[in-house]
């Protein structure tokens, strides 16, 4: 299924590609910027606390960008 890609989607994908793999990361609320990353969930929360960010969304990146089958 081919989907249209808009600037926000492209920015999210670029942010994810910039992020370390197999890590915890935080994207800005609009999901266009990589705000923090770390080896653990708590690392990311600590970084968000340090910068006073309470709106970012946390994700776990996979070991590689293969299609997901969980």
């Amino acid at each position: 299924m081919k989907m249209k890609r808009n600037a926000q989607i492209d920015a999210r994908v670029a942010a994810l590609l910039d992020a370390p793999l197999n890590a915890w990361i935080a994207l800005s609320d609009d999901e266009t910027r990589l705000v923090a990353h770390g080896a653990t969930y708590q690392d990311v929360v600590n970084k968000l606390d340090e910068i006073g960010d309470d709106s970012s969304v946390i994700l776990k990146t996979p070991p590689s960008w293969l299609p997901l089958a969980v």
């Binding site: 890609r5 989607i9 999210r12 969930y41 708590q42 946390i58 994700l59 996979p62 997901l68 969980v70």
Partner: protein, 139 residues
């Protein structure tokens, strides 16, 4: 509640759209609650599974829960069951969640604990595709 699928990069430069939604998990009868994170909506999963980091974040000692096993595409693994509150939009669900030491995503929302509480429509007709969640209450 409607949520667009989230874009994930693929190795060949294309993009996959995946039904991730934003949730939070809280400890039952306690103030600890996670930040907002993305969890995948997965009808193939028997229940809701989160990594041990989520348990740790809300003050749950992983191995103090009931130990069970779950089969996945990579084989079976141990999980520990704990009662938690799952925050989905404005809804707060009291569920028993499984916590695992290894998970490739921050959360899996499965049939028990998630699908049993919503009528869920996976809608590929929009661009990007999305899913619609309608809370249901069983009598």
């Amino acid at each position: 509640m409607r949520a667009p699928y989230r874009a994930y990069p693929a190795k060949d430069g294309t993009v996959h759209f995946v039904p991730f939604i934003r949730v939070r998990v809280g400890k039952k009868r306690a103030p600890q609650i996670t930040r907002v994170f993305e969890a995948i909506v997965d009808s193939g999963a028997s229940d809701c599974i989160f990594p041990d980091a989520v348990a740790l974040a809300i003050g749950i000692k992983l191995e103090s829960g009931k130990k069970e096993q779950r089969n996945g595409i990579g084989g079976s693994q141990d999980v520990w069951i704990h009662p938690v509150q799952l925050y989905v939009g404005a809804e707060i669900l009291e569920i028993n969640a499984a916590f695992a030491k290894s998970l490739p995503v921050a959360g899996i929302l499965g049939r028990i604990g998630f699908f049993e509480h919503f009528k869920i429509t996976f809608d590929p007709s929009t661009d990007p595709p999305g899913l619609e969640l309608e809370r249901i209450y069983k009598t």
